[in-house]
């Protein structure tokens, strides 16, 4: 399974009420194209989607906040995950789409393959962690995304995927428009 297919599959489990922060590059383009709008689409600030999601989750405790991030982006902001483990914000979820590459910039390798995400994230104080490899399994079990979206606890879902073969256009909204559309939703 590819990253874009995971994001399309996630859409089936959303109510439209969730607040979604997506990391810069392919991931935010896919979130823009395949998930309910408007959301927080990051254009820059690599390494910060988890911390932006944490701030949003603290600000809006009654809403579910989902951070969708590629592996390169997640790893750049790795220490912010420890702050999430410290803050224990139950309405926050982090979905890591791991293709072991900086896919937006030409599929250069990341260091992701060295890591055991389940153990690493648990060691950072986040108890609810699932890690699956969809380069080996063809399908996700049906309750995985359901639980990720709906269970009332801080969660991290790490999904190892194949590199996408689609190329999406840049998000047409200027970042100021992204912010305003999100504020007015």
């Amino acid at each position: 399974m590819k990253g874009a297919e995971v994001i399309q599959k996630l859409n089936e489990y959303l109510t439209g009420e969730e607040l979604i922060v997506s990391s810069n590059g392919n991931v935010s383009r896919q979130a823009y194209n395949f998930l309910p709008q408007p959301q927080v689409y990051l254009r820059g600030s690599m390494g910060l989607p988890v911390s932006i999601g944490l701030g949003l989750a603290i600000s809006q405790p009654k809403k579910k906040v989902i951070v969708i991030t590629g592996d390169g982006n997640f790893l750049m902001g790795l220490s912010s995950v420890t702050t999430v483990g410290f803050a224990k914000q139950n309405n926050l979820r982090i979905l890591i789409i791991d293709n072991e590459s900086y896919a937006t910039t030409g599929c250069q390798e990341t260091v992701s393959s060295a890591l055991n995400y389940g153990e690493m994230v648990k060691g950072m104080g986040i108890e609810s962690v699932m890690s699956i490899d969809l380069t080996k399994e063809k399908e996700m079990t049906s309750d995985l995304l359901d639980q990720f979206v709906n269970k009332e606890e801080l969660q991290v879902l790490h999904i190892r995927v194949e590199i996408d073969d689609i190329n999406l256009e840049n998000i047409p909204w200027h970042p100021i428009e992204i912010k305003e559309n999100f504020q007015n939703r």
Binding site: V40, I52, L54, G55, S59, Q60
Partner: protein, 165 residues
């Protein structure tokens, strides 16, 4: 020195309900007051750029927070400022300790950044004020007005002895 409890009460009255950042000894007493504060929640951050992300996310959810950092952190937050807070036009109040001046003569690690702190802020196009015990409310009101009118980050530089003994 400014009474830090009064200072935080002022910020709370101005609508700030979250603080995050990385400590500096110039803010030691401020942190003691922050821990006591019921109006302002504090989250320790691991890095200053992460703290910018937290405050920006908090703002996108409709609430206001502020940052506390040492000027060394100005070197860390460049991308968070330019490609997040400034790009999306997110108002951001930063308290930055002004290390590397005369009292830090024995701390060479602060001297280069102390020399370039105001240049760095100018290069980032961030308006800044130097906080003093006298007229601190006026300074803060000016900084907050610019922050709100421009919907952009502003910086308040804090020298030794102003927000901690």
């Amino acid at each position: 020195m400014i009474d830090t409890e009064q200072f935080l009460s002022f910020l709370s009255e101005q609508g700030f309900s979250l603080a995050t950042g990385v400590p500096c000894s110039y803010f030691k007493d401020t942190f003691v007051s922050l821990e006591k504060s019921k109006e302002i929640n504090y989250i320790p951050a691991t890095r200053e750029d992460e703290a910018v992300g937290i405050i920006c996310g908090y703002f996108l959810g409709g609430k206001n927070g502020f940052l506390i950092l040492q000027n060394s952190g100005l070197a860390t937050i460049g991308d968070a400022l330019t490609s997040l807070a400034q790009l999306y036009k997110i108002p951001l109040l930063m308290f930055v300790s002004y290390r590397g001046l005369e009292p830090d003569a024995d701390f060479p690690e602060h001297l280069v950044m102390g020399d370039v702190t105001e240049d760095v802020l100018e290069a980032y196009q961030i308006p800044y004020w130097i906080l003093c015990e006298e007229n601190w409310k006026n300074t803060m009101e000016q900084a907050l007005k610019v922050m709100k009118d421009s919907s952009l980050p502003v910086c308040v530089l804090v020298k030794m002895g102003v927000l901690s003994q």
